[in-house]
Amino acid sequence: MDANTGIKAWITRPMLITFAVLVSLPFWIDSVGLYQYLGVEIVIWMVFALGYNLLLGYTGLPSFGHGAYFGIGAYAFGLSQLHLTQSVWLGLFCSMLFAALGGAAVAAFLSHRRGIYFALLTIAFGQVFWFLSIKWHTLTGGEDGLLNIPRPDLEFGVFSVSLDSNQALYYFALAMFVIVVIGLWRLIHSPYGTVIKAIKQNEMRTGFIGYNVWLYKWSVFTLSASIAGLAGGLFSMAQESAYPDVMSLHASGFVVMMVLIGGGMVSFWGPVIGAAVYFLARDMLGAATETWLLWYGLMFMAVVMFKPEGIAGAWQGFVRRRDASADAEKKPVTG
């Protein structure tokens, strides 16, 4: 592996391909029968899914209440725009900060736990936040949520960019996505990343070697929550509202499904593929039938039953088989 030297440690070929596809997306998305706003949604959920996969795919911690931190981010953005001052940077900072605080508080309870207790407790805490968002009317606006959240211009000190058009918003979200991708890529290939992967394989042994497993689990949960918060903040920018639905058990389940269908368990790019597949399925199946969730659910069940490594896993298997047969063709020369 020469991935540890120079620019290649930061930017890889799959990254460039992904970025190229996403940068050009606004130019061809209309011609394939989709619409600009879909791109915004896809990129936002890609950010969310990537952050979530840090927990599920890399640390092996199944959180089933991650929508809560996405929601906290969305509300934090909305509240900061409505009650403090209108600034994208401040809003997204609040999103990440409050989601991280929420995540840190929950993780303090969770980080001793493993397996079923962990999964059940994440569900319980997720529901707590969802419940608060519905019942705390004065802060969150109850079931209706926060409406008419402004979408301020992007200030760079000397100049500012309007984000009113979906295209401008898309490129802003994409910039955030690029930062998250590169940041996570570096994190995963850092010593810290090695430790969390070790925790996934065997938590007890990692502890025996001398790593503070609790601290690693706590910090990775908090980090993942803050990325979810960033995605949530972008989402409330895009929707110009924040509502409790994104915090429900269903929304939390969707991000798990995206990560799994895409192949987050075996690949860095799994969540990215999965988020794209989810939204394409929603729009294409949704156009064909009202019960698209039924078919998507069946598709998901089939993936879990027959190809639990997801799309990225299937691709890796294909490449491996192709390489193996290429090797086999070379070898007979000696015989």
Binding site: R114, L293, L294, F300
Partner: protein, 309 residues
Amino acid sequence: MDFLLNLAPHLINGIGLGLLFALIALGFMLIVGVMEVINLAHGSLFALGAYFAMMIIGPEPQWFGSMGEWYVGLPAGLRYSIALVLAPILVGLVGMLLEYCLRGTYGKDPLFGLLLTFGAAMVIEELIRVFWGSGEQVLQIPAAISGAFIWNGLIWSSYRFFAAAFAIAAIFMVWLFLERTPYGAIIKAGAHDSEMVRALGINLSRLRLFVFGFGVMLAALAGIIMAPIWGLRPHVGVDAVIPAFLIIVLGGVGSFGGAVVAGVLVGLTVGITSAYASEWSLMSMYLLLIVVITFRARGLFGKKSVLEN
């Protein structure tokens, strides 16, 4: 004394509710024990049980022509009893189908079982929408157990009493079955160490099939009893299964007594808070959970088990 008397209806409601949650939790726990699968479809099967019961009770079964008319002519109590038996069995069959799908995930990361059942939950919920619509439905209950009566100057709902009594009886039956029959012994052994049970010559796949069916039957039964209280919506399962999860964590995974105690505790908490701050009644159980797990990591009666790995 007056204070207690005023609180009494809430306590009865709470205990009934808590025991029904405990019934759901018990089925869930058996499945976790024997298959090491967190069955996220448990809530949807709870709802499905109630919908099946609604179909069976009527009042307008168009199928079977004159047979249908004869059937509708039967006393409501009888139709209700038939539903109480038949609907859980049907749900049990659906559960067995789900278990069959789950077979590929045994021995892999437990996450896959959990994800498969999440997908199944979605599919079942959508199927309910397709067949019965998204709107609120009503499950008819016989006159004998509906209505209200006045006792000691307070209005009591008969159905709440019925629900509490039914839940107590059902939990007692489950206890009898698990503790006093050889089948129960096998299930408990399977929950403890399923490989060992296979080594002793028990057909493990049949055991799993049966336990899954049995576990979801308990959920369906709770669903039928709960439906008149909560109303019937496609996503009603989530409201039921979350408290059941809480009860398991509270009581400790794998503990029958723990589930019942935690169920009553949650029920009482919800009952009492609903008397004073009904808006927040469901929130109180989360707070209860957080308090308990802060002091007791594995819940009230939990022991260390393989499921934590």
